[in-house]
């Protein structure tokens, strides 16, 4: 019902704008209302989730989808007691993957950008070729490799394949950045007697901080949300990351406590929200400035 009215409102907007072109001050108003309505609908699932997470069973039964008082904050206490260890698992997966991945891609892209070593073009082409290999092709065989190396049910079995999967994107972005740095910078460093390693750590890395931050934020987001790979390589549920634990919350928390289950969903998303609160400006600026395009 609401769907059709919103859409007709939406497509009507530009035509409407034409007619009020003379009354310029009204222009933002119309657009804001349309955007506001669309934004609100986008948020409905989030609102519902928050609403449900504060309900007890009785409120759930009487008015499931309407806001009710009082808010039951203890849902969150209950959910956190269950989710705590899984959040730690997730954090370990994230920290390990991001560390392995960023260290490798920074070193590789810096070597590609700054040193004309023999075979450089070949290796860079080999990285570019990865863009043509979709994850779905290697998913099953990568799993076989991981099991053959006895890495299933280990941290390395999550870190290394996920880090490998993000190398191409990170190397291409970082190589472009390092290659755009003026050679005079390094010339100056050499005159001052800095070693090659010193120049990477003290000249290149500090300048690359914004782009590294963007890559790290993107990867934290990606690893936190990754569920297909962990479901394949981890067979012991106590090793599961938070994103998989929410799937079993209804059984982990006693089945009657539906509100606590939704509170668990919220808790699972909370770290990403905090991360986003700190990085949203950089994130939006990075994407809007057109740094990422073909």
């Amino acid at each position: 019902m609401s769907a059709t009215t919103e859409i007709s409102r939406g497509t009507g907007a530009p035509t409407r704008y034409r007619s009020i072109h003379r009354f310029r001050f009204k222009r933002d108003w119309t657009i804001s209302i349309v955007l506001g309505i669309l934004g609100f609908i986008t948020f409905v699932p989030v609102i519902m989730l928050l609403e449900l997470s504060f309900k007890d069973d009785q409120q759930m039964a009487s008015a499931m989808w309407l806001p009710t008082l009082p808010l039951h904050v203890h849902n969150y206490v209950k959910a956190f007691a269950v989710m705590g260890s899984y959040l730690i698992n997730s954090a370990v997966f994230v920290v390990g993957t991001v560390t392995v991945s960023i260290v490798c891609s920074t070193l590789t892209s810096y070597a590609f950008a700054r040193y004309p070593f023999p075979g450089r073009e070949f290796f860079y082409l080999a990285v570019l070729a990865l863009l043509m290999i979709p994850g779905i092709l290697t998913l099953i065989t990568c799993f076989v490799v991981t099991v053959s190396l006895k890495l299933n049910n280990t941290y390395l079995g999550v870190w290394l394949p996920l880090a490998a999967g993000s190398q191409a994107f990170q190397i291409i972005v970082l190589r472009t950045f390092f290659a755009s740095m003026p050679p005079e910078l390094f010339e100056a460093g050499r005159i001052d007697g800095a070693s090659e390693a010193r120049m990477l750590v003290s000249i290149a890395m500090p300048l690359a901080k914004p782009i590294l931050t963007t890559l790290i934020v993107l990867q934290i987001n990606g690893v936190w949300n990754e569920f297909i790979w962990p479901i394949m390589v981890l067979s012991r549920p106590e090793r599961y990351p938070a994103i998989l634990a929410v799937l079993q919350l209804s059984t982990l928390i006693t089945a009657r406590d539906v509100g606590a289950m939704y509170a668990g969903y919220v808790i699972c998303g909370l770290p990403l929200f905090i991360l986003f609160a700190f990085s949203s400006r950089a994130f939006i600026r990075g994407l809007t400035s057109g740094a990422i395009k073909m």
């Binding site: 657009i31 609908i41 986008t42 989730l49 043509m132 490998a164 479901i231 998989l244 990403l272 809007t288």
Partner: protein
């Protein structure tokens, strides 16, 4: 050029010596790239080759494989479930994913682009980006709850309007449309930001000139903005096609391809062939077919990108 001409006879030997000298000089570069390539060899290149090879075999993943030629491919293309159902569903889902990624975020971006107040524009950008932090799994679970036939929000609304409740994800006819409707109104934050970046890169003078000439907002959109953001549109297009062909998260978490294969896709059939049936050969073959599809579509898209760039240069 001149230098190499002076010593033509020994050029090959000096080339080799020069290469060797550079290898010795830049030896540490190979250490720097060693980590990356160890990862890639183990978890990308080798699995890719292994998938191609094993798609021609019967293989349980760990014991030696048996070569069977094209048998796996034959099975895929004659199977009523994989070919008859999964690939058809995939075409529906991929087409829809492209349409919705092209239309709705662009609509949002065009509206935000028309806002005059910088602050309002930033607010709405943020508004559409914040839902990105909801983990995909949580989003799926909430939507599943909204679709729940007995206590879900949508059926509560339908009943309130005295209409017949729908089975949504549990009904054979309604499951696929329900999957497609998820995420309404489909204004994806990342896509919207990419479109907005394209719109903001359009030189202001062109737009001003068009306004001076009396071009309406709608006219400006279709005659100027749309042609000028073609690179962004193609990027979103290919990202969505690639994503849609590979995705099986919904099937893994909620529908399991059901009811009666109504929502199955090739990627899910692949996962099942390997993880539940231990038929890694068939799974590899499905992976190869998907790879060829993605590869072909990417090539077509790249050819189109090149022509659009040339068009712009003229």
């Amino acid at each position: 050029m001149a230098e190499s001409k002076r010593q033509p006879a020994s050029s090959e030997r000096t080339d080799a010596r020069e290469t060797w000298r550079r290898i010795k000089r830049y030896w540490y570069c190979y250490l720097m790239i060693a980590g990356t390539f160890a990862l890639l060899l183990t978890f990308s290149y080798f699995p890719a080759i292994s998938a191609f090879y094993h798609s021609f075999t019967i293989w349980d993943g760990f014991r030696p494989a048996k070569w069977v030629g094209l048998q796996n491919y034959q099975e895929i293309f004659t199977s009523p479930v994989i070919f008859g159902k999964a690939f058809v569903n995939m075409i529906f889902l991929a087409t829809w994913s492209v349409i919705r990624a092209l239309v709705f975020p662009l609509f949002g971006a065009a509206l935000i682009y028309r806002l005059r107040s910088e602050r309002t524009a930033y607010f709405f950008r943020l508004l559409f980006v914040i839902p990105l932090v909801v983990p995909g799994v949580v989003g799926i679970l909430v939507w599943r709850q909204l679709y729940e036939p007995n206590v879900g929000l949508f059926n509560a609304i339908l009943v309130a309007f005295h209409m017949k409740p729908l089975p949504f994800l549990n009904g054979e006819a309604t499951a696929l449309p329900s999957l497609m409707f998820m995420g309404f109104p489909w204004i994806d934050g990342v896509g919207m930001l990419i479109y907005l970046a394209g719109l903001l890169a359009i030189p202001g003078e062109i737009i001003e000139a068009a306004i001076m000439d009396g071009a309406s907002s709608l006219r400006r959109f279709f005659s100027m903005e749309l042609p000028l953001i073609v690179p962004q549109i193609r990027l979103i297009l290919i990202l969505n096609v690639i994503g849609a062909l590979q995705g099986f998260g919904m099937q893994l978490l909620v529908t399991h391809g059901g009811p009666s294969n109504a929502t199955t896709v090739p990627a899910w059939e692949m996962y099942q062939a390997a993880m539940t049936a231990s038929r890694y050969g068939v799974a590899s073959a499905i992976g190869v077919v998907l790879f060829i599809l993605i590869f072909g579509l990417t090539l077509i898209n790249n050819a189109a990108v090149r022509s659009s760039v040339e068009y712009q240069a003229n």
